[in-house]
Amino acid sequence: MVKKKRVRLIAEMARKIRAYRELKAQPRESEKYALDYQTMKRPHTGKTLPVLAWEDVGRESRLFTLLSGLRLFGVGRIFTRKSWLADHPEPSYWQITKVKVDYVAENMDHGKAWGILTYKGKQESEVKEVEKSIYHDWRLVPKHEEENFKKYEPLPEPPVRYVSYPPLLRAMILAQGGGSARGEEPTLPLKRDVLLSKDYFSSQEEERQRQEGTPV
């Protein structure tokens, strides 16, 4: 027989209090992400930044260093990342809608921002938190260049290509009357708009059952 478990209420309470205090004692953004630019180390964790990033950290700025110098913290302005500029020819940018600044920072250059992302020319519909805002990678798009920057004409998607079946399968299909009993070559589309989920497979099973009929 299992012994009855002792209910330790005080230990529970202590656990909750410890969790609450840990939550309260979390370091602020400005402390967590502070950086010593001479030694490229973070004073909070003592870790050094990766060497390949040192050049960028010296030359570029974080998102909030740019936001702190703008009216209303740059709400409504457009920001790009240097890595996007290098990697993708299509325009990718964040348009800022909401900002929460860490007011403890001396130059008001830490915090969180939310905005609408346009990645490779495709604009999203929801406001999301700006990712990687602490990276030294951000550039402000000046107002007189905004229109020019956003201009993008998406190339039309190439049409779906069709490919012939392997020879044995092709012979079988033609012998059975073919997927298309019109004397044409049966082809396989290289791209299908199908979400492979449980519902799809169960519906495929049912259709096969219907076609084959019952075993007897």
Partner: protein, 426 residues
């Protein structure tokens, strides 16, 4: 009552404006008296507070780690009555900026801060807070910028005026034609004094010339764009493209000298009456000459220096020197002789088409100011009057909300005291 007072003052402002417009011609300064008139501002419903009390109140709130409301700081700035209090207000603005409510610093507080600084002769204080706008949170609207610029221009302090224009450029607040005209005037007068420019000053001047010039589509604007791009190109050649656009609202594609030449091409190809001023073109020529002579001398130095450094074991410095000269920047410097030759071609083209204006830039800007500024001021003033009304209504709402919150707190406190008394008795 406040509304009728405002209406009476609006009528008064219109009358003053018309009379000033007629007698504007002989004046030395640019903005008409109606623009810098303080009657509309002064006749708002005032809430005189004891500054010492407010200061003590704010200190207590900061100690207890509560947020200070924007109404308190606006009351503080409104009740400034002497030069020392301007300094105190600066301290409290700094503290407000570093509090959780920093986003809610109101437009009217900033406007009244600029007005008070000008009233008590603390222009340099206003400029100092503007320059450190990150720390103080001062982002004035264009009307306040116009007032500040006008004060500096009246005192012929063109270096200070150019610093203000740099701030206008950094905030990209040059949408109103009045701001554009005033900034161009300040810049042209400053350039006419032929100052000695360091690299960062050149960068600031070039950027402000370019951005303000982009808005105007006439001789003045295009000449400003030309000289701005040329100065930025000079900085680019010397320091690299990163030094140009860091911290400034500028594009990061290299080739600013190329863009200056593109402006010249555009003017040469344009069918209208647009010209480029001779002194701008001369300055651009001087810049190009300086760059070519610099590159010649530095090439000789570099080859000598590299041979020396190859023998050294100080590898880190070597790497840093090589890293600074990026591939793009090297490509730019290689294009310099091409730029120089193209400049000569375009210059001869412009001269043959008669599109080089011999008048100096400041004369043109003054003429433009005389014509266009009065017209530009009218919509500004109307907009300002409307905005003052909005600010007043917002302030009344805030005061009402504060009063209601205080009443509610009082009632809750009463309820708690009664409950405690009942519990003690019962």
């Amino acid at each position: 009552m406040a509304a009728s007072v405002l209406q009476r003052c609006l009528g008064a402002v219109k009358v003053i404006h018309k009379s000033a417009y007629l007698s504007c011609a002989g004046r030395r300064w640019l903005l008409s008296a109606a623009y810098t008139d303080t009657t509309l501002w002064e006749t708002r419903k005032k809430d005189p507070q004891n500054l010492a009390q407010l200061a003590a109140f704010m200190d207590r709130i900061y100690e207890r780690n509560f947020p200070v409301s924007s109404l308190t700081i606006s009351r503080f700035v409104d009740s400034i009555s002497s030069r020392e209090e301007v300094d105190q207000a600066e301290y409290y603005l700094y503290r407000f900026r570093h509090s959780p409510n920093c986003w809610y610093l109101r437009d009217w507080t900033i406007h009244s801060w600029v007005r008070q600084c000008l009233k008590y002769g603390a222009k340099d204080k206003a400029l100092h807070t503007l320059k450190n706008k990150v720390q103080y949170g001062i982002f004035p609207d264009e009307f306040s910028f116009n007032l500040l610029l006008d004060a500096y221009i009246k005192e012929e302090d063109f270096k200070g005026a150019c610093s203000v224009v740099e701030e206008v450029m950094l905030q990209e607040a040059c949408d109103l034609p009045s701001t554009q005209i005033l900034s161009l005037y300040a810049l042209s007068r400053y350039l006419a004094t032929k100052p000695k420019l360091g690299v960062s000053e050149e960068r600031g001047l070039g950027a402000s010339l370019l951005i303000v010039g982009l808005k105007q589509n006439n001789t003045v604007g295009l000449s400003a764009q030309l000289l701005g791009s040329a100065l930025l190109g000079k900085v680019e050649m010397a320091e690299g493209i990163h030094a140009v656009f860091r911290g400034m609202p500028l594009l990061w594609t290299p080739g600013y000298v190329g863009r200056a030449l593109a402006v010249m091409e555009k003017v040469a190809a344009a069918p209208g009456d647009v010209k480029l001023t001779k002194d701008m073109i001369d300055s651009v020529e001087a810049v190009l000459k300086e760059l070519s002579s610099d590159s010649d001398s530095s090439e000789g130095e570099e080859s000598g220096g590299e041979e020396d450094r190859k023998g050294e074991s100080g590898g880190e410095e070597d790497r840093k020197e090589e890293k600074m000269v990026d591939e793009d920047d090297l490509a730019e410097r290689a294009k310099l002789p091409q730029y120089a030759s193209r400049f000569q071609e375009l210059l001869s083209q412009l001269q043959s088409q008669g599109k080089v204006d011999a008048a100096p830039l400041e004369a043109l800007v003054s003429a433009l100011a005389q014509q266009a500024l009065p017209r530009a001021e009218e919509p500004d003033l109307e907009q300002y009057a409307g905005r003052v009304r909005d600010w007043e209504s917002e302030r009344r709402q805030l005061i009402q909300r504060e009063v209601e919150a205080r009443e509610r707190a009082e009632m809750e406190k009463q309820a708690r005291i009664e409950a405690r008394a009942a519990a003690q008795q019962g």
